[in-house]
Amino acid sequence: MRVFQDIVVGSGPGGAITSYFLKKADRDVLLIEAGSRLFQQDTVAFSKDEMLRKYWNGGLTVALGNPKIPFVLGKCFGGGSEINAGIYHRASPEVLEEWARRFQLRDIDEASLNEHYEYFEKELTVSSMPDNLIPKASRLLAEGASKLNWKCFEVPRWFDYDKPENQKQTMSETFLSRSIELDLEMVFEKTVRRLKQKNGIWHVVSFEGDSYHAENIFLCAGAVQTPSILMRSGIGRNVGRSLQLHPTIKATALFDDEINTEGMGVPVHQVREFSPAISLGCSISSLPYLSLALSEFENYTTFARENWKKMSTYYAMIRPESCARIINIPFTRDPVIRYDLSDRDVANLLSGLKKLCQLLFAAGARKVFPSILDEKFILDSADEIESRLANVDRKLIQLMSIHLFGSCPMGENPALCATDSYGRVSGQHGLYVNDASLLCTSLGLNPQGTLMCFARRNVLHFLETRNG
């Protein structure tokens, strides 16, 4: 029986960074990934093929509740970093202060976290889009915000714009490739079922029937799978009860001029006038996504094909007070996720949608199609916003989310936290969580930058304390 020093479960941002730093410290590491070994160039971004090959459940994962919230998770080499838009933010000082106060999270002073943030900003070439590449759909958001005197920014991304191809600095492109050069051992298409510890050795059993063994386990399988594995292994203190996501509502706008182009990707501006409670921004607006957005408007899906160059989709995202619960069903690998959106969150979402529609009309939109399950729900002018969106039945609101986190919060508060301040699972020797599950509360922003920052902080702390 081969016993590794460390097993890392999951190759998303948390797992990629963890395995890279462990391997760099010359440790014997095995990386286990549930998805396939695919690189950036193996699928076209935001395509049908990508959906089938790189998304968990083909992108059809749903948090049950009223309304239901579909969300997407990566299931491939590089995890979420391969399928997202590469948007980068640092956590705000207010959020970190809340984590220190409520969760008693230690050692998160600005100076020590800055070192990690700066590391990734350099290594992943976090940068703004060159001015000549900024899409018109993005500029329109900025113009609308300017007319309303709202704060609007271009969001930096981990993109290397000097490269001719594979500009997005995903994990497969960066840290995983570096780990491969360091001879990282990897297995693919193995979904971890449970963990057992015997005589100081952890045994990892997969649904496919394989077993792997190590002194330390780093769970980096994402905010849904990590707590599921822990719960299936009988480790449940403060695990899976506080999964958080950013409920997002979209609206598609039709303009007079052509604003959309083939391969536009995700435009880069965000309105942060109402943040952290509500953020407004641009969404993927390729023809398939536009037609999906308009598929409930019976006569408008073919309209999208004829007018897609004049259309773009935008979103309003909230920082919610609600959180979801992960429920494992014995003998199955798909957990059920229950999310009860509070009335206040619903009101916030509708307020965000109103603001978004107002912004789009200020930017010159001729028609706005909010994502509400009612084929008659099309707005022709800003005057209609208040009356039409005043009393929308929550059942009709179509939401989605792409950010999931917080299902195993870190910190020293035993009433709230599943791990200590560095990700070690409470009461377990040699078992660590090092992914988005650790983030204590919603950032109101894309969490990947902060997740990477904490993943590096935690793995370096592990190496220091192990060697010291």
Binding site: N57, P288, S291, L292, T332, D334
Partner: protein, 112 residues
């Protein structure tokens, strides 16, 4: 196999709303693969619902999947107007994925 035929019947009827092409096999394949990708609890609900609707939407002795395209579309529209929770989810699944697939490669429209 029956589930596949029922799914195919839904996709062909819905796909006709989005495109004049005759062959929607790529869409059927996509929707069916996505159904197979669903978490088990949705897959079980969708399979039961597909079988149930195949019988509930019968015309004479013909189950839904054996009916003419126009008849199927008419029945889907009537079903949608009933606004029943889980049935709506079922139709949204077909509607959204079929539209997504049709417009993922609009050049194939020319294939007829």
């Amino acid at each position: 196999m029956l589930i596949y035929h029922i799914f195919s019947a839904f996709v062909y009827a819905i796909g006709r709303q989005y495109s004049d092409k005759k062959n929607f096999n790529a869409e059927v394949d996509f929707v069916y693969r996505q159904y197979r990708n669903l978490p088990w609890y949705f897959r079980a609900v969708f399979a039961c619902l597909a079988l149930l609707l195949d019988l509930a939407l019968m015309k004479g002795l013909l189950p839904f999947h054996r009916q003419q395209l126009r008849e199927r579309l008419h029945r889907i529209k009537r079903l949608k107007r009933l606004n029943l929770g889980v049935t709506n989810d079922f139709l949204t699944f077909f509607n959204g994925l079929t539209a997504f697939s049709v417009y993922s490669d609009p050049s194939r429209d020319a294939d007829g």
